[in-house]
Each structure stands twice: as C-alpha cells, then as structure tokens.
Amino acid sequence: MRLALLLAALATLAGAAAAADPDPRAARHALRGTLVMQGDAGVFRTCGDKGREHFLVDATGGAEITAAYRELAASPGVPVFMELVGIVVERPAGALPDRALQAERLARAERSGPGCRRVLGRIEALAIGSAPAWQVEVSPAGVTFASLEERGMLAFPPRTGEWPADGALRYEGRSETGTLSLALEPGRCRDASSGNLYPLTARVVLNGTEYRGCAFRGRSTAATGPAAAR
C-alpha cells in the first residue's frame, strides 16, 4: 500500500523528470535490479543487500522498459528483474527516492529465473534456449554446453581475444567430445519458454545439431562507454 501511494505520487512528477535532457558526456551505468511500476511510474531497486532505489525515467525512446514491464509482470506492482543502462542523477534533497535513473537501454528483462540471486562472477556471456533446455556458458576458464539430454555437459577450450566492438561474438571450439560453434549477434531476443527479453540472439551448433536461443553478457562486460557496473 505504501509503495502504491509512493508510486502514485511519483506518477505526477514523471512528466517533469522525463523532460530533463540527458547529458551526452555523463557516464552510463549498467544496473541490475528489480523494477516495480504502477501506471507510468516506476521504482528501480538495484540488486544486493545495499541496493538503492531509483526513480525510473524511461528514456528508451519507445517506452520500451514500460512495455516490457507490462508484458512480464503478472500484475501491476509485481517486481520484474531487469538490467538497465543509463544515467544516474541525484535528485533534490528530501526527494524520495533520492536518485533517478534515466534508462536509455533495456538490456535484459526476466519474469522468471534467478534474478538478483545470480552472481555472474567471471562469466563473459550466457546463451540459453528451450525445447530442449540448454545453456552455453563463456568464461575465461572455457566454454561449456549443458543440457539434460544424452549429451549432458560438454567442455571446450576458452576463447581468446577481446570482445568485438560491434557486440557480435564468434567462437569455434573442439574437444575430444566434438565441436561447438557459437554465434552471438546483437538484437532483441525473446525466450520462447519464459517470454524473458535478452539483448543478443544465439546460434549454437554442437556436433552438427543446431540450437537457437538468446544470450546476454556477463556483469563485467554489460556496460558500454565509460560505464562501471554498480
């Protein structure tokens, strides 16, 4: 109830806040947290015990964040996990929340899954898919393919080199269990089983069998420009 009142009050301020032009020189941050919306007003709380609340300004252009929330939340007021990229702005003294996030890009939105509980650690990228469920994990330790099918979990050597500037990634690996190729391309991707939204499409070919799904980059590589993940 308190949150509903807070959000209702925030809704009246939304227009003014949204009107502020973002500073092109300001640092962009990639923030992971949960978004709660009532009407057009939202509060984004970053993950962690010391997570901070931000008044959300959907600066994506097409109200992409608001639309994703409405699609994924079972009902208004239900938290949805998101990874947002944007500018953090301090708000006037006494304002609650005391910060605003001018979110310019929706990187990830999940209605189900580990959400804030997930610690990505050294994971560079994660590709996932359904029917049958599978996952490819890319980390400096190597590339693994996991499913509950006969193949089980297969390990391949680590990839080398920097992440390409265009955001796309190609990988080819060989081990005693066979060959795996992975192609990640920037582009909005919707997971077929959960409806979750991801920033990359994934194509995996394992020993000649093709798997298609979605992917996202790990915490250390999610932000762009001068950003530092918080």
């Binding site: 509980r117 049958p132 996952q135």
Partner: protein
C-alpha cells in the same frame, strides 16, 4: 551435481517439466534430480502456479460423437455392430479373469509360506511447499451465452482477501451504443435474483472495486454473468438486459 550452479538452465528445465515438454530420458533425469533438490522443486511449483490459471481458462469442449462412440465400444458400453465371437465375449474374459486372479493368489500364498521375507516399506518424503505460489483466488471464465457459440469472452480474477476484481476482455465485443456491460453474481439457490458486481470498464484490462473482499463478495456465487444494460448500469440494481456471457466462478485454493 554439476548443474546446481546453472540457475538459468534450471529455470528452463522447470518450465519444460511443468509444461510437459520435457520428455524421455531428460524427464527421468530431471525427476531424479528434483527428488534431491528443494530449490528445483520450488522452481517447478512456481511454474505450475504460473501455468495453472491458463489451464483453468481453457474452455471445456465436448469430444466429437465419433470419439465418444469409439470410447463406448472399447469399454463395452455400446452394443457391438456385428455378432462377436468368444474372443470378443465379455463373459468369457470375465470368467478367465476370475480364474487367473484365483491362480495368482494361490501362487503368491504358496510362495509367501515357503520363503517369508522382510518387506521394505517405502518412505514417503515430505515435499516442501513454496510460499510464493499463486495466492488463493477466485477465478471466473465467461463464455458466450449463445448455444452455438463457445468463445471465451471474459476472464476475471480476485485474490481471496482483496476487494479488487481484475478483469480482462477476451472476445467480448464493444458495448452497443449508449449501453454498458454489467457483471452479475448468480446465486446458487434457484429463484434468488442476480447481484450486481459492477459495470465493466470499456478497457481491455481493468479492475472492478468489489463491495467487500472477494471472500465475502464472491463466495455465494458459483457463476457469473454479463448483461447489456442502459449506459451506467441497470436501474435499481435489477438486471433487465440480455445475457451475453456466463461461466463458473471457481475457488483456486
């Protein structure tokens, strides 16, 4: 278990298990894994709770007549089309079944007397129930009132202790000019008049404020109906218009 640190994969497997699309060896492996992992069981329960309203919302459909006839033939409820031989005789198989059962019982008795064995009693494991499952609610799915029209017109949902009824129009057409749709609770007792629950907003999704929590407002109504009424609702709280949709109002807990 090497999959334990892969929560995204766990979530997808739980979804596929709940949907029934996880099959064969993968399903058996998942069930074995689930028996020893409470978090995985919770993930499956969460998905089952998410999917349950969808299953409730699917309208009931009668099977085609030919399917029903085939079922009747199989269970021997319908007369056979042609004269059947002893192989197709129900009496023959009934007697044969009695004799076979008797022989089996005698054999089991003899074996039990010869070699008494310790019978292992299966341990019933208590499954943890997740507290985040869908809260107890009233759910109603209203279908078109016409005899030959079974389209799902309208879905309503209210948590048991909430006074807000969430409603979604499915194929409910726009209201006739200068008229409103009104939602009614139909009492179980025949002869008792319907009780208005409110006028439907014209949005695709909206909420209706109930007079009290759903447990008071809806518990006496096993069914709901929608009528066409004058703009703003029926005069004097009495339904006067035609019924366009009706359906059961179910408790989901």
């Amino acid at each position: 278990m090497q999959y334990r640190n892969k929560p995204e994969l766990q979530d997808r497997l739980a979804a596929e298990y709940a949907l029934g699309t996880l099959r064969g060896g993968a399903r058996l492996r998942f069930e074995a894994w689930m028996r020893e992992d409470a978090a995985l069981r919770r993930a499956v329960e969460a998905w089952q709770a998410r999917l349950a309203p969808l299953a409730e919302a699917v309208p009931e459909r009668a099977p085609p007549r030919r399917v029903w006839q085939a079922v009747e033939r199989r269970i021997g409820a319908a007369p056979a089309a042609a004269e059947a031989g002893w192989w197709d005789s129900l009496a023959f198989w009934r007697n044969w079944g009695l004799i076979a059962t008797g022989c089996t019982a005698a054999l089991v008795g003899a074996l039990a007397l010869r070699a008494p064995q310790v019978v292992e009693v299966p341990v019933i494991r208590q499954v943890e129930v997740e507290s985040r499952r869908m809260q107890p609610s009233y759910i109603a799915v209203l279908q078109a009132a016409g005899e030959k029209d079974d389209r799902m017109m309208f879905v309503a949902y209210a948590p048991r202790h909430s006074d807000e009824l969430w409603v979604k129009r499915m194929e409910l057409p726009e209201e006739p000019h200068n008229h409103s749709y009104e939602l009614w609770g139909l009492p179980a007792k025949e002869g008792e008049p319907p009780v208005s629950l409110g006028v439907l907003p014209s949005n695709e999704k909206s909420t209706i404020k109930l007079a009290a929590a759903a447990d008071q407002s809806l518990r006496d109504f096993p069914a709901l109906a929608i009528t066409v009424e004058p703009l703003g609702g029926a005069k004097g709280g009495k339904s006067s218009g035609i019924v366009v949709a009706k359906g059961h109002c179910m408790r989901f807990w």
